[in-house]
């Protein structure tokens, strides 16, 4: 089973930042159909801040990295997504403690704790048409990363026919059906980035060695 260090988490979050930046206007578009047209810019701003913070003062353990990233999201995103995604990462980080390296099973458990944190903070269950619809099946599939990616994408897609019961889409009542939930869409991006990071590590021959990305060069520093 692969071992994950701070560098792995950083690569994940950098990949997530890229994905979110690339898809920002799609996320905002989704949010304008059933929300307030800010989800893309919120996520881009938050993840750009995460990347900057981690580049500036990189924690040396995966738990610390997740906690710093979570705190950064809370301090920069705002809206519903800020506290929720911030809690996802912080709760996962807390579950990992200060261990310098963790295996995939520990990481999966930590992320499940993170999603529990999201669900308990936001009070949303699967089927409420929120990010939880993508996150919960994804972390359940971990540590099988490709399965997690697929579960997240399917979970997100499954929000389309739903009537929202949480968040501002819920104000629309029946008019919320027929649209993809923007938070579920961004969750699928985050899980996809995680799977990419894992795949890059695997390609490079296992452990936490860097992938093809620029960040990979620093993989051995830790």
């Amino acid at each position: 089973m692969a071992q994950r260090d701070a560098e792995f988490i950083r690569r994940w979050l950098e990949a997530a930042a890229e994905a979110v930046a690339r898809d920002a206007s799609r996320l905002t578009e989704l949010d304008s159909a059933i929300g307030d047209a800010d989800h893309g810019s919120n996520m881009r701003r938050g993840f750009a801040a995460v990347v900057a913070t981690l580049a500036d003062q990189p924690p040396t353990d995966p738990g610390g990295t997740l906690r710093v990233a979570g705190r950064t999201l809370i301090s920069t995103v705002g809206g519903a997504a800020g506290p929720l995604y911030g809690t996802l990462l912080r709760s996962a980080g807390k579950a990992l403690g200060d261990d310098p390296v963790v295996d995939d099973e520990r990481l999966a458990e930590a992320l499940r704790a993170g999603v529990d944190g999201v669900a308990s903070l936001g009070g949303a269950a699967v089927g409420d048409k929120t990010m939880v619809d993508a996150l919960l099946p994804a972390v359940s599939a971990l540590p099988d990363y490709p399965a997690a990616r697929q579960a997240a994408e399917e979970g997100a897609a499954a929000t389309v026919p739903l009537r929202a019961r949480k968040g501002r889409a819920s104000y629309l009542g029946d008019r919320s059906t027929g649209h993809l939930d923007p938070g579920a869409a961004s969750s699928a991006l985050l899980i996809g980035a995680l799977a990419d990071a894992a795949a890059a590590g695997a390609e490079a021959g296992g452990a936490e060695a860097g992938g093809a990305e620029a960040g990979g060069a620093e993989a051995g520093d830790d």
């Binding site: 159909a33 307030d36 705002g78």
Partner: protein
Amino acid sequence: MRMLINEPERVVGDALRGMAAAHPELLVDEEHRLIVRRDAPVPGKVGLVSGGGSGHEPLHGGFVGPGMLDAACPGEVFTSPVPDQMTRAAAAVDGGAGVLFVVKNYTGDVLNFDMAAELAEDDGVEVARVLVQDDVAVTDSLYTAGRRGTGGTLFVEKLAGAAAEAGAPLARVAAVARQASEASRSFGVALSSPTTPAKGGPTFDLPAGELELGIGIHGEPGRERRPVMTSAEIADFTVDALLADRMPTGPVLLLVNGMGATPLLELYGFNAEVRRVLAERRVEVARTLVGNYVTSLDMAGCSVTLCQVDEELLRLWDAPVSTPGLRWGR
């Protein structure tokens, strides 16, 4: 482009610089995104803090000053501010009597203010919170995030602000705010979508000849789309929705609010129709405010808020207030 901006990312920062330049009587902290009463903290006075996404001006920043808010925390456009802002605001305005957070009921605002309250209490500041949830367009609130906070926020901030200014303790200021919140009901109608900087265009498409009933203040589509109605028909529909939800048993404060792009000329004409319906339904209007107060950027449309008042609330409403957006008395 209908927007007078530099870059979408700079809108809120630029606005704060411009506010600082226009209002030397306020302390505007662009870096930490705070608008604070210049004489804060006022010793012994309860500090009143609110905030929310930007784009609803004059709410909240324009309501900072003697008799109303001690501080406002502006978020990005239509995005709740972050907890750091509210914690810092609480520290800046706590005069030893504690701080009241006035929070519009949106998932983002509630989560961020709650996190901030925890942090502020860790710092030794006593914090109470009141939720504003006045929008009757949100039905089935058991299956939703609950009712939205809209126009009623103005009443809560003014009435609680007057109570705080008069020296009431935290529990009393919070009770006034809660009473004002519970007594407030709003309903909004959009004649156009707002243009958000992030999207660079309208949030929703409203074909000519249609309007959205039951909108919030964030450019979300409403509950229902209908062919255009006259001002009289909109007043009938709106006031009926308000009275069906809560029939006042005494005099009310009336806010006929523009969403940002509806001319005052039209708002006053609409006020005439609202007053006609209220008179038909025998609701007594104690005070009226007509204007763009709780807006949604450049959205055309209006909302109506009723807030039932007793003698004390009416006295608090009439008490002096001195802010950029609301000013009367001494």
